[in-house]
Point group: C2
Chain length 195, copies 2
DNA sequence: AACTGTTGGGAATGATCATTCCATAAAATT
DNA sequence: AATTTTATGGAATGATCATTCCCAACAGTT
């Protein structure tokens, strides 16, 4: 074993806790007190291990994006068709209407809207993450076009953007307290818009 | 004329300046310094005339909503058809892609997303405003259904919500720097989704 | 001239914030 | 026992924030 006292906390656990806190409260509104309480480490350790609040947010955001994209990709590659994947994605979002998860929305979209046009690193990173999601959806659209479920006349990138903001819009709806039937009906509109 | 020194500033002008500042910076991120500079009044006057930051935001938000709804209603009632109104609304939004206005987004949606699930008065008010917009769109949808341009099978409220978040999503897209052709393509998706 | 309401800004209050420094304790090594 | 690394928390720093109090200047009225 290496010399010196071994690490007492698991960096993964602490990072996940930080991520959830940012998710719940937003970047600016999350204070160091909140972080320390959630991560269950001391101020000193936080600065030593993660640099500062901004750096911690960046790594937490990247982790969130990685996890999200991994989940999406896994579900995509094992889906019967691209269209089935899209349908399932939206339907699941609508079904989970009242869950806490849905109430929180998506960390990436939340951050992108909160940080808006800021020039800060967190803002840049958030916008990049939105692009990453949109890029993944573009692949999905392209496959759907090959499979014939979406007209090849459509620009794949635009369709992907439509799908992206529809996901974010759906989240906003659910956050505003839309009922499950309303959400399901809205999903139909989105699916119809993609065709 | 009334006794005492007459008002030097026009409350309307100052309120508009405050509104634009909240619009540009968001509620939390707008400091009193920002407000005073934009409104060109003194701290004393602000507190005397508008109460405090929170109260000022509430009146500014209401004014924004009133102006927006008035503009929308005027354009709606003089439109050839409900569908033409919707088409025009979305197309104009896409055409103004690069304008400063579009970059700002909409004060109501910005506030609703920024304040999210907060229990504060500003948050409640923002959610109410989203409902107000959605309510207006419901009327539009109902008229479109009477005119036959939207299937009567659709739930009007759900379609209105779809339209509402599509507007907000379009704004987010433009904020993220989507090109004009992309935005126009996305509008087609939204219109198709409404049918 | 006396009165009344508006305006402006200095100063203080009390709170929160992120960050740094520092001294100390704990747990492992050699 | 000496060393190395990690952990903790008190204290201070410097900044910003919204808000209140207060006093002086201002611009009209009667």
């Amino acid at each position: 074993m290496a010399m010196g006292r071994p690490l007492q906390h698991q960096p993964d656990v602490a990072l996940t806790a930080a991520m959830q806190t940012f998710w719940r409260l937003g970047y600016h509104h999350t204070s160091l007190r909140d972080l320390l309480a959630a991560m269950e480490i001391s101020r000193s350790s936080l600065y030593q291990l993660y640099g500062n609040k901004e750096a911690l947010f960046l790594t937490a955001l990247e982790r969130y994006r990685d996890q999200l994209l991994n989940t999406l990709r896994a579900s995509f590659y094992q889906a019967a068709s691209a269209w089935a994947f899209i349908e399932n994605l939206l339907t699941q979002a609508a079904l989970n209407a009242q869950s806490e998860q849905a109430q929180l929305g998506c960390l990436i979209f939340n951050s992108a809207t909160e940080l808006g046009g800021e020039a800060s690193l967190p803002a840049q990173s958030a916008r990049q993450c939105v692009d990453d999601i949109s890029g993944f959806f573009t692949q999905v659209i392209v496959r759907a076009q090959h499979e014939g479920s979406i007209s090849a006349d459509n620009d794949a990138a635009s369709a992907a953007q439509f799908l992206t903001f529809s996901m974010s819009g759906l989240r906003l709806l659910l956050k505003s307290g839309a009922t499950k039937p309303q959400a399901q009906q809205t999903v139909k509109h989105v699916l119809q818009g993609l065709r």
